[in-house]
């Protein structure tokens, strides 16, 4: 039997396509349930990126970059950090110290804390996922040097 490339194996294609949405869904669960249970932005970001990396491994880098252009990944990297920092700056405008979540909600400091952690973790998640995918693009996109 001639060796086939990974892109042609039917089982891999079907299974990975089936798993893909669930990986992303699990990442979102870890992200947003991280406030109450184990998890958080970093883990969620890695899981989210793992879904895309799986897609890239099975369908090839070109297909993956068609679905998720490198420029988007670059934007995501910056956006996450800005979201994190933006929350801090917001709390400064609300007459608190940088990243003082207590002032984010007028009525209760607990809600303020919750709100702060929620957005900050989302920022972490976006940046981590983007950087992970970016690293994959960086390595997978290298041509062989003779």
């Amino acid at each position: 039997m001639p060796r086939r490339s990974i892109h042609e194996v039917l089982i891999l294609r079907v299974v990975s396509k089936g798993i893909f949405p669930f990986v992303l869904l699990f990442a979102l669960y870890v992200q947003f349930h991280g406030d109450f249970g184990p998890g958080g932005g970093f883990q969620a970001g890695v899981i989210f990126a793992a879904g895309w990396v799986l897609y890239g491994l099975v369908f090839g880098l070109t297909e993956l970059q068609k679905a998720l252009p490198p420029r988007w990944v670059e934007i995501g990297t910056a956006l996450g950090v800005l979201l994190y920092g933006g929350i801090g700056v917001w709390s400064m405008f609300a007459h608190g110290a940088f990243l003082d979540y207590n002032v984010l909600d007028h009525h209760s400091t607990v809600h303020g804390q919750h709100r702060g952690v929620f957005w900050v973790e989302l920022g972490v998640g976006i940046t981590v996922a983007s950087v992970m995918i970016g690293i994959f693009y960086g390595f997978a996109g290298r041509r062989r040097v003779r």
Partner: protein, 489 residues
């Protein structure tokens, strides 16, 4: 507003970096980065004012009180370092990423990396939390590796890579040191560490922690046997990056050394119990001589400057190893003075590279007539390196010599003066090549553009101005040393 200055000092560059990534437009990014560096300079000067008034300016993040939360603590010493870093950034950044490998349309990546490096260095200097120091050190180092790799030829990539390896080892050593201190005290806050270490100071863990931290910092500072990354990195990086790094990165590492020795562990423990000066003094003296001697034999202007940096770092650590208020003040004032001189000289190298196409000393023949303004800038800054009166170099040497004489360390005084003679040799070599040899046939007579000359001359003229007006530098350095050594703040 002004109560947020400590946070804004670091936030401005660190948050503008991702913003550059989003904006991408070359002019827009450039203007924005320039505005940020100028803004940071203003903030650092304001912080200096505040610190001199109240002693220590404290900013608690998220309003969590220390030692629970992370705090920024600015006293005179780190305010001085903040001023140095942001001043140099504001002066050199207008040149931008010319003469580097940055492709057209990707300049925004240069500005992003520069702002991260800048913000990281400010962060190391400003924070009052040792783990935070490590994090910011990594931010600035990672950005530094990128910046160095942007140099004109492929050797820049190799230089960046070897700095990456060595720099990572250095950061790891520092982290191990911090980890051991944390294990012994259960705190990461600098002020809190100092208090809690009192009881456990003479344990082996703390001694080992000190050793790890000092080796890690010494790698970043390029103290003599650990300096091998420096010449290549400075030689092959783009001129603006060399100017910025030589004037700031090692200065911040020196600040860390001061902080660890004087604030965290205490001079009594470090110098009297551990006798750290027994190691540091010979290494500093060796750096002064080996660095200068190596500089004399270089054939490349930028590499000459890099070796001379190693010698100058020797002067700074020598001031520290004298273990006195005068010695520390001499080291601190030399941070500022050396930043002016060496930043200016590396920008001169940038002018030469732009017009001559190389920085080999042979190619600089007849530069005095080909590029008179550039050449005279080199001469003035070079006189500063020797320590001629009327330049900042003299102020540093004077402070260092009087600190040595104060302790009747005659041998050290003589060695300082002898090593200045070596500086005379390598500066004279440049002057001879530029003014006393004929320009090669067909060499172009064209001065560097104002964009290069203005920042160069700002630094050079400042190095003369602060040679006369010593109150704002030496005065502040003495106040900083006084506060650092436990005098009333």
């Amino acid at each position: 507003m002004s109560e947020h200055f400590p946070a804004l000092q670091v936030l401005l560059p660190v948050l503008t970096a991702p913003l550059c990534l989003l904006l991408r437009h070359p002019t827009l990014v450039r203007v924005l980065s320039l505005a940020v560096t100028v803004g940071c300079l203003g903030i650092s000067l304001a912080l200096m004012e505040q610190a001199r008034e109240v002693g220590t300016v404290v900013y608690e993040f998220g309003n969590w009180p220390r030692p629970l939360g992370i705090e920024y603590a600015v006293d005179t010493t780190n305010a001085f370092v903040l001023v140095i870093v942001s001043m140099i950034a504001a002066v050199v950044l207008p040149i931008g990423c010319r003469n580097s490998q940055v492709p057209e349309g990707r300049e925004y990546l240069f500005y992003s990396a520069f702002l991260l490096c800048f913000g990281g260095l400010l962060g190391v200097a400003i924070t009052g939390d040792v783990f935070n120091i490590f994090v910011f050190l990594e931010i600035s180092s990672l950005a530094t590796y990128i910046l160095i790799a942007m140099g004109r030829d492929r050797r820049a990539i190799m230089a960046a890579y070897s700095y990456l390896i060595v720099g990572t080892i250095g950061a790891t050593f520092l982290l191990i040191g911090i980890g051991l201190l944390y294990q012994m005290t259960g705190t990461l806050n600098i002020a809190d560490l100092a208090v809690r270490l009192e009881d456990v100071k003479e344990t082996r863990t703390v001694i080992v922690a000190f050793a790890f931290a000092m080796v890690g910092i010494s790698i970043k500072l390029a103290v003599l046997p650990l300096h091998h990354w420096l010449p290549n990195a400075y030689t092959h990086a783009p001129p603006v990056v060399s100017a910025f790094l030589s004037a700031t990165a090692t200065k911040v590492a020196y600040y860390l050394m001061l902080r660890f020795i004087y604030t965290i562990l205490g001079a009594g423990f470090v110098f009297d119990v551990l006798q750290f000066d027994v190691i540091l003094t010979p290494l500093s003296l060796a750096a002064m001589f080996i660095g200068s001697l190596a500089a004399i034999y270089q054939t490349d202007f930028k590499r000459l400057l890099a070796y001379s940096s190693i010698a100058q770092i020797g002067y700074m650590t020598l001031g520290l190893s004298l273990n006195s208020e005068l010695g520390a003040a001499a080291g601190i004032v030399h941070l500022f003075n050396h930043a002016l001189m060496k930043g200016g000289l590396f920008l001169v190298a940038g002018c030469v590279l732009l017009r001559v196409g190389s920085t080999a000393i042979v190619d600089m023949r007849g530069l005095g007539s080909r590029m008179p303004l550039t050449a005279s800038a080199l001469v003035i800054a070079g006189l500063g390196m020797i320590g001629v009166p009327g330049t900042v170099g003299f102020v540093s040497k004077w402070a260092l010599v009087s600190a040595a004489l104060d302790q009747q360390a005659w041998q050290i005084t003589v060695l300082i003066l002898l090593s200045s003679l070596l500086a005379l040799v390598y500066v004279w070599r440049l002057i001879e090549v530029m003014y006393l040899t004929e320009a090669p046939e067909g060499a172009e007579r064209r001065e560097a553009p104002p964009l290069y000359l203005i920042p160069t001359w700002i630094l050079v003229l400042a190095s003369v101005y602060f040679g006369f007006n010593t109150e704002s530098t030496l005065g502040v350095a003495r106040a900083a040393a006084h506060q650092l050594l436990g005098g009333a703040g």
